[in-house]
């Protein structure tokens, strides 16, 4: 029997970055807000205890904080002619689980996308003609960089980002990124202290005419108190960020920037270990009545609510829409339907340079401590004579020197035994790595839908992911690899290796948890699932917040843009939606 619970003003599905931001904003508005979180409660003292937070085997190898495939997985294939099979273990990407979501175990690279990223279709068509992007399905976001700036600013100050502005109100700033859009003010905290590897990378980059700058980091360069009054500590450079919770209150997450205030509010409640099965729609399917969820005892509940916010991981947002009948599922054959459309990823490649005479002390590290070169990112360079669009940031961010995972060896080294051991000892301190964080542009046949065969533990169809790297993105990545080779030569080590991105996306080796799209934002309801305020075109009392809204992915990590979009959606709900609840903010 489904138990029917007392109604709430707002129900939020998932209490990670976006759920926490929306919950904070809407409780400030006086609304009664409930968050339902599939995973467990997590806080710093108990779950990221300094005594065991840095357990590489538990957290990195065995992935203790991540979503387990027994709870939810998906089927994957490279193209629509294949039969998709379920991922029995997450590999290529690792979705989060529990309070704080993937924001608990991220590295902390916090970027702004550029106006040229938001207006990409218009911009590329104007510059290079429509034929240049004929093979792609890129879309404008429906917002401008200027419109997004105040929301980026709010997220950066909430999260205490450490960085150096490159452009304040149109004035270029020495030491920052000269290619970034104008920002209203500098970062709240100065850049982190550089270790040797990124310092050398920047020196060499500068010597060949490039423009390196400190990577904007959610690891605190100094003690910080955010606008909510919540204090964070200076990062200790322990190098246990990605895949780990931070034991020192030094990495921004919902736990360290929002929850201490949110959890004390009398008009907020979270129910953990509770999985939302679907959004319940009123007859006619034009408005949501609430959500149905199940707790760990198997008891099912109906939670009525006037406003439903999907704030789960982007992929799970898209699946919940499909399972709830919100919008029409995308069909690549007809091109119709919007839910699942424009699934994109990240097109990465990497270089390792081996030295004899250098000691980089890689164990002194932080997840976002490094230097970035944006000379070949997005619209920073002219693509007129090139055979692709897009680009990548080139990042020298030695995130860690953890003993199990950090074992760089020269090509030809045996994979085990005494020769391997000797090589890892030599390689550990003297290897410098950097990588290209490449854009991922949409195509007609990269998409998400429901699998016809495989079901989850509740009998619901799994989501099916159809994805391969588009030819455009492979050409982009190869061009970036050539540029990275130039840097490798200038660095002058004894040897270097380049790991180039190849066709045939493989779901097994870890690549990136930057899955975007599936419920994209836009101005045309035939080509986007949500409007530019992330409100569903089809069910206006549902908002879908996260990287699911990206029409395509830029050559940058997504979290900064996810946070900015969350603040923008919150503003739209507070200042516009609540005046006339249930009505669309944009007429279709």
């Amino acid at each position: 029997m489904t138990k029917i619970l007392p109604r709430k003003d707002v129900v939020i599905v998932g209490l990670g970055w976006t759920g926490s931001i929306l919950a904070h904003e809407l409780t400030d508005q006086g609304l009664d807000v409930l968050a339902i979180e599939r995973g467990p409660w997590r806080d710093t003292a108990t779950d990221f205890n300094i005594g065991y937070a840095q357990d590489e085997l538990r957290y990195s190898v065995r992935r203790d904080l991540f979503l387990q495939p027994t709870v939810e997985t998906m089927t994957v294939r490279n193209d629509p002619s294949q039969t998709a099979l379920p991922m029995r273990d997450f590999g290529s990407f690792l979705p989060g689980n529990g309070v704080g979501g993937a924001g608990v175990h991220w590295n902390g690279h916090t970027w702004r996308f550029w106006d040229s990223d938001f207006q990409i279709k218009t911009n590329l068509t104007k510059k290079y003609g429509a034929s240049r992007i004929a093979d792609l399905q890129v879309e404008d976001w429906g917002v401008t960089g200027t419109e997004m700036e105040p929301y980026y600013d709010r997220f950066e100050y909430l999260a205490g980002i450490s960085g150096k502005a490159g452009n304040i109100k149109g004035e270029l700033q020495e030491g920052g990124n000269p290619f970034e859009d104008p920002r209203s003010r500098d970062y709240p905290n100065p850049p982190m202290q550089m270790t040797y590897a990124p310092t050398l990378f920047a020196e060499v980059g500068r010597s060949i005419g490039l423009h390196p700058f400190p990577t904007p980091s959610a690891n605190m360069s100094r003690a910080y108190v955010n606008p909510l009054g919540i204090a964070m500590g200076q990062c200790t450079y322990c190098g246990f960020c990605e895949r780990f919770g931070c034991a020192n209150y030094s990495k921004s997450s919902a736990q360290t920037t929002i929850l201490p205030v949110l959890m004390k509010k009398s008009n907020f409640e979270v129910r953990t270990d509770s999985e939302v099965l679907h959004v319940d729609l009123a007859p006619g399917g034009k408005s949501a009545r609430g959500v149905t969820y199940v707790d760990t005892s198997g008891q099912e509940y109906f939670q009525p609510a006037d406003l439903v916010l999907l704030c789960a991981y982007g992929l799970h947002n898209a699946r919940l829409m499909m399972l709830s009948g919100i919008g029409k599922i995308y069909d690549p054959t007809s091109g119709e339907g919007t839910v699942g459309r424009n699934y994109c990823y990240q097109t990465n490649a990497g270089v390792q340079v081996f030295f004899d005479d250098k000691n980089f002390n890689p164990f002194i590290a932080a997840g976002a401590l490094g230097q970035t070169i944006d000379d070949y990112n997005g619209d920073a360079f002219d693509h007129g004579a090139l055979d692709f669009v897009g680009g990548a940031g080139i990042n020298c961010i030695p995130t860690n020197g953890r003993p199990i995972g950090t074992r760089p060896t020269l090509p030809g080294t045996p994979k085990w035994g005494s020769a391997w051991k000797k090589a890892t000892v030599e390689g550990y301190k003297s290897t410098l790595g950097y990588s290209s964080q490449g854009s991922s542009y949409a195509t007609r046949n990269n998409y998400l839908d429901l699998d016809p065969t495989y079901k989850d533990r509740f009998g619901r169809p799994l989501m099916r992911m159809t994805f391969d790297f588009p030819d455009n993105d492979i050409r982009m990545s190869n061009y970036l690899c050539d540029r990275m080779e130039e840097i490798a030569k200038a660095l002058g080590g004894k040897q270097y290796t380049v790991s180039r991105r190849k066709k045939g996306w493989d779901s097994v080796p870890y690549q990136s948890t930057h899955n975007t799209g599936g419920a994209i934002m836009g101005t045309d309801p035939r080509r986007s699932a949500v409007n530019t305020f992330l409100q569903s075109w089809d069910v206006p009392n549902v908002f879908v917040i996260g990287a699911s809204a990206f029409p395509q992915n830029a050559g940058k990590n997504p979290t900064g843009t996810v946070g900015a979009l969350a603040f923008r959606a919150a503003d739209a709900i507070r200042n516009q939606y609540l005046r006339n609840p249930g009505a669309p903010l944009v007429q279709a």
Binding site: D9, G30, D32, A45, L228, A231, P260, K264, D306
Partner: protein, 405 residues
């Protein structure tokens, strides 16, 4: 229906003032509500998550359990049948309605110093709160202590009804602070050492005492164990927010800050600070012998591995997140009870409007043996200018035992 109900944020008083009350009465109730803040009535008489003032969690005293009763104006189970005279008499003498004698877990030995108008205001407030029907069996002491008449003898030995005696040689601010500390604030209930009968040792007023598994530190101006290194501003900040450069509140003090001191007015906090800083002297501070070097070296090694990431290699801590251990008053106490407890059980800072972060010290009981904790505490207590006595593994074992019982 998809209409959102717009909930107005009610920023003003959350008092349930019935419209029948006159403006004067309303003023008196508001003054009385502040008296309830000063006296921290809710700290004992309200359960976490329970109805306000409808009865608290059992107080574990050395003599047995006492449950703070329901003090809402409910006729059956609260104090609805009391007269104002009953209430005044109870506050001044510990003898309640129908002559029932209270145990001094109810701090009437302090409240006796409250003046009549403050007690009258408090009474007006208590009669205005929502009556809650909640029967509380307050007296759960073993025989013969459960015979309330026994308190006749206790009072004869230990208690004198008193009024606050202002000191005309001191400022009005000092006198206000003394009135709060000695009276409604009842600081001595925790911070003054007790005789074997549980009465305050007046000669050691506020010099630190052990209760309920914590050591309530010396809050006189003693340079070593007391507030000597704190400025008045430090003290105000601590009482208002739960954190300052020297310490982060834990345990029962964290609760007192959350329910009481964080809601006091700034002038009252300043007055309390002025008064406390005037107490005690630095005389008689004996420097304990420096621990032997082997223990210091072992303790330092434990410290580097387990403590330094947050508290710093030099014990300086980090702002409002991780308290400085150098010059920390908890570190400096003669008793290491609270320190050992913090390492074993962990602790979380209190949430106040001005310091909402609630950083936490994790439990290290699973990770460190009694001897290791004794060594690291010995090291911390004798480093960076700290000069408190060495800690033995038996000291730690006793606290561990208390926590697991």
């Amino acid at each position: 229906m998809k209409k959102l109900v717009f909930t107005l944020v009610i920023g003003a008083l959350a008092l349930a003032i019935a419209p029948a009350w006159s403006a004067d009465q309303a003023d008196q109730i508001i003054r009385g509500q502040y008296q309830a803040v000063l006296g921290d009535c809710a700290g004992c008489h309200t359960q976490a998550g329970g109805k306000p003032l409808a009865g608290g969690l059992p107080l574990e005293t050395p003599f047995g359990a006492l449950v703070p009763p329901n003090i809402t104006p409910d006729g059956e189970t609260g104090i609805g049948n009391w007269s104002e005279a009953d209430f005044r008499n109870m506050m001044k003498s510990g003898i309640g309605h129908n002559g029932v004698r209270l145990y001094p877990a109810m701090p009437y030995p302090a409240y006796t110093r409250m003046n009549d108008s403050d007690i009258a205001d408090l009474w007006a407030y208590l009669t205005s709160v929502e009556p809650v029907s909640n029967k509380v069996e307050a007296n759960q002491l073993p025989f013969p202590l459960n015979i309330r008449l026994a308190m006749l003898g206790w009072n004869a030995l230990n208690f004198t009804e008193a009024s606050f005696q202002p000191d005309s040689s001191k400022s009005a601010e000092w006198n206000r602070g003394a009135y709060i500390v000695q009276g409604s604030g009842h600081c001595g209930t925790c911070h003054t050492p007790k005789s074997f009968l549980g009465a305050d040792k007046d000669s050691e007023f506020l010099q630190g005492a052990s209760l309920q598994g914590w050591f309530a530190p010396d809050i006189t101006n003693n340079a070593q164990s007391g507030l000597g290194k704190w400025s008045e501003e430090d003290l105000v900040k601590y009482l208002k927010t739960g954190v300052n450069a020297h310490s982060i509140a834990s345990g029962p003090m964290a609760e007192a800050i959350e329910n009481s001191t964080s809601k006091m007015t700034d002038p009252d906090l300043k007055a309390v600070a002025v008064y406390l800083k005037s107490l005690g002297s630095d005389a008689g501070n004996t420097q304990p012998a420096k621990p032997d070097e082997t223990r210091m070296a072992t303790g330092e090694a434990v410290y580097r591995d387990n403590c330094s990431a947050c508290h710093g290699g030099d014990g300086a801590g980090a702002g409002v997140l991780f308290p400085s251990l150098a010059g920390n008053s908890i570190v400096a106490q003669g008793s290491s009870e609270t320190l050992a407890r913090l390492v074993l059980a962990g602790s979380q800072a209190v949430h106040t409007a001005d310091a909402p972060t609630t950083p936490a010290m994790p439990s290290l009981a699973w990770r460190l043996k009694d001897q290791e904790i004794a060594d690291v505490l010995t090291y911390v207590r004798a480093s960076w200018g700290n000069a408190a006595a060495a800690v033995s593994s038996d000291d730690v074992a006793a606290v561990r035992k208390g926590l697991t019982q």
